[in-house]
């Protein structure tokens, strides 16, 4: 162990120096201009763009981080092109930033040091569907809704649902999760294999080329090393995903509670009762009020759970009645449920429109979503303390959460032109993250580390784990070209 740490200490100072550099290396040496000619010979004129509108589009995502456009955007059409373009970047020492749909929430695509954005949207094929094996392989341009639309006649679906219509390979890169995780897991549990192009153009198959065994004990788990690596270890060009059968029946329900504690207690008991609940979403009173105003609804302004059950039509009644009993025993009221698509959509409309409802509370403002996750038993305490923090600091932060996972989001609505408010929001999010860490939780349940949580990551996993991560990064990307300035 000691010699390993000594070896890391030899590497890490050099890495730290590299991370510290923020000036645009590429602009200084004119490397971009030389590279562009080579890019064009690989991808053609239509596959390379230096237009400012295109670059700006690829320098921002849906976070509040400002737009940091790359120097050039390339649009490869195949893994061979990705590899050739990466080799050119490697030769000229240009940063490489993979781009899926730009729906990230932590500024993961910002080109902090300039460089080349690899927009993968032209690689948009669904390859190799194996219905009986419940697996499918997709390219990075395939989005979650696109895949489920493709699969609709097969009776299969990919249930990980982060909200946005995100690229599936992008979801793998950020270890995305969503409202369904309590039943179906996150990307970590549902990626069987990845094809990744490394910084030097080498093409790696993390579980072996074409392999799609549902379980394996073979060697180090490279697939899950890349899941959540946020483009800092390689460019994902194929993902083999685990599929599930579309449930025969879906039932949605809503229930109001007198307190956060009673809502969370109900959640725990529902899980303990073995009800295969598919979604349990928590909205606090501020959020419910926002939803009422936005959608002209009349929910009781009090903590509310939105639930969804998946299963056979016979089991639905049993699941609903067990759940209704549990919620009643915990002081829940106004339990309403529905089975047909249209009424279910109406019941869940409040949850679906939460983001917009929050924004509508203060028109002209922007919204930032916090994202911490704690053990479920600590959820009532952290939510109560967080709400007190919001009130005492005069902040607008309606809360929506995947309470079945202990993960919740404060949708901070803020005026970006008010530096005092921006600062207060920033301090609040740091306090919130540290509050979660103090409760054995994590500073990011699903959005990733991106630009803004690198210091928090260090606090969360500790200096040795960070050193190990840096060692892995140095091993796979010694020149630090892959999405510099993110995660570590």
């Amino acid at each position: 162990m000691n010699s390993f740490r000594q070896a890391l200490r030899l590497i890490s100072p050099r890495l730290l120096f590299t991370y510290g550099r923020c000036r645009r290396y590429s602009a200084k040496t004119g490397a971009v201009e030389r590279a562009i000619t080579s890019f064009r010979s690989v991808s053609g004129d239509e596959g390379v763009s230096v237009g400012s509108a295109v670059r700006e589009q690829h320098g921002r995502d849906e976070s509040v981080h400002r737009c940091l456009p790359p120097d050039v955007v390339v649009f490869p059409r195949s893994v061979d092109e990705v590899s050739a373009l990466a080799q050119i970047c490697h030769h000229h020492q240009l940063p490489i930033i993979p781009f899926g749909t730009g729906t990230g929430l932590e500024g993961g695509v910002g080109a902090l040091q300039g460089g080349v954005c690899f927009s993968l949207r032209k690689m948009d094929q669904v390859l190799d569907l194996h219905q009986e094996d419940f697996d499918v392989t997709v390219e990075p341009g395939v989005t979650r809704k696109g895949l489920n639309s493709y699969l609709r006649d097969t009776g299969l679906w990919f249930p990980v649902d982060p909200g946005a219509d995100a690229s599936l390979c992008g979801m793998a890169a950020t270890s995305a999760s969503g409202t369904n995780a309590v039943r179906y897991g996150t990307m970590r549990e549902n990626v069987l294999n990845l094809e990744v192009v490394l910084a030097d153009g080498a093409v790696l198959h993390t579980a072996g080329r074409g392999r799609r065994a549902r379980k394996t004990a073979a060697g180090y788990n490279l697939t899950n090393l890349f899941v959540g690596s946020e483009g800092t270890l390689g460019i994902i060009t194929k993902a083999t995903l685990r599929l599930y059968g579309i449930p025969e029946s879906m039932v949605s329900a809503v229930c109001s509670f007198p307190s956060v504690q009673s809502a969370v207690d109900s959640t725990v008991q529902i899980l303990q009762a073995g009800v295969p609940i598919a979604r349990i979403e928590f909205l606090d009173d501020v959020m419910i009020n926002a939803c009422n105003l936005f959608n002209n609804l009349s929910y009781a302004v009090t903590p509310t759970l939105f639930l969804e059950f998946h299963g056979s039509s016979k089991s639905m009644e049993e699941q609903v009645s067990i759940t209704e009993e549990i919620t009643r025993d915990n002081g829940g009221s106004d339990f309403a449920w529905a089975e047909d698509e249209e009424t279910r959509s109406r019941l869940w409309k409040a949850r679906h429109d939460a983001w917009y409802a929050a924004l509508a509370l203060r028109p002209g403002c922007k919204a930032y979503s916090t994202d911490v996750c704690v053990p479920i038993s600590r959820l009532p305490q952290i939510i109560v303390e967080t709400k007190e923090d919001l009130i005492s600091n005069n902040l607008t932060g309606p809360i929506a959460g995947h309470v079945g996972d202990g993960n919740f989001h404060c949708l901070m609505v803020l005026d970006p032109n008010d530096p005092d408010e921006v600062q207060r929001v920033h301090s609040f999010t740091e306090r919130l993250a540290r509050r979660a860490l103090a409760m054995d939780g994590t500073c990011t349940g699903e959005h990733g580390v991106g630009q803004g949580k690198r210091a928090l990551l260090r606090e969360e996993v500790g200096p040795l784990a960070i050193e190990v991560m840096q060692g892995l990064k140095a091993s796979l990307d010694p020149k630090n070209l892959m999405n510099p300035g993110k995660v570590l």
Partner: protein
């Protein structure tokens, strides 16, 4: 109620596919391209299934015209809840030139043979956008028609249809038997679930030829040419408002 519903389902190129014109300009590329049920036909099937769930209809028969592959489309309808299927075999050149007139003759013949009380079709197919089959079928049968239906209710043996028209919504009352064509907002079709796909494999699909129904599928139409829409050209930037006005005048726009 003992009503029998006939639902027509068409196999078309999937809506998410990028269409390419064949190099010889006689049509679009269909080989190796993903096909699925026409979205408006999905809505039609869903409506029929909902009527059956409300016990207003006794049996749903899904019909499709085409080569062997259309059986997949019929199976999807069966997985959604149709009871049995009829595959009207049309292949080769006849299939390439198959259009609303021939299909409506086939639907009319089947409606009589199966003693159907209601025919539900999609309002149009997304490949030819004809929006003719429902109307022609009603005319051939001399049945009332409720087209562009966004709401359908059975009231005392009659059909109340709310139609989506340019000016808004029109509500009509028609006698049965009738033809209804489904518009987008009629319902949200259910997904075929695995258990239902399994059950659908046991449901029967009968094979029939157009000649058996006394229908001649020769087409009176000949496709002369198929072309892509003109490529969008790059815009031109001008420096001043005068230049802009000048360019607009030049191209005859003002």
């Amino acid at each position: 109620m003992s009503a029998r519903v006939l639902v027509g389902v068409k196999r078309v190129i999937d809506y998410a596919v990028k269409i390419r014109v064949k190099p010889d300009h006689t049509g679009v590329v269909t080989d190796g391209v993903k096909h699925s049920m026409n979205p408006f036909c999905e809505i039609a099937v869903e409506e029929a299934v909902r009527l059956k769930e409300k016990k207003l209809v006794k049996e749903i028969v899904a019909v499709s015209c085409g080569p062997q592959q259309v059986q997949e489309t019929i199976r999807t309808a069966l997985a959604m809840g149709a009871d049995r299927g009829i595959h009207v075999e049309v292949s080769g050149k006849d299939y390439e030139t198959l259009g609303p007139l021939q299909v409506s003759k086939i639907m009319a013949a089947l409606a009589k043979k199966e003693e159907a009380d209601l025919i539900i079709l999609g309002k149009q197919a997304i490949d030819d956008d004809c929006n003719q089959t429902g109307q022609m079928t009603a005319a051939l049968l001399d049945w009332p028609q409720g087209t562009f239906a966004s709401e359908l209710t059975l009231e005392g043996g009659k059909l109340k249809v709310v139609r989506e028209v340019d000016g808004g919504l029109e509500t009509i009352m028609i006698n049965m038997p009738a033809v209804v064509t489904a518009d987008l907002r009629l319902n949200t079709p259910r997904y075929a679930t695995l258990p239902n796909i399994m059950k659908a494999k046991k449901k029967k699909i009968a094979n029939v030829k157009p000649a058996d129904l006394g229908v001649d599928v020769t087409s009176r139409l000949e496709v002369l040419n198929v072309d892509e829409p003109a490529q969008r050209l790059a815009g031109v930037k001008v420096e001043t408002v005068e230049d802009l006005v000048g360019k607009l005048k030049e191209s005859g726009r003002i």
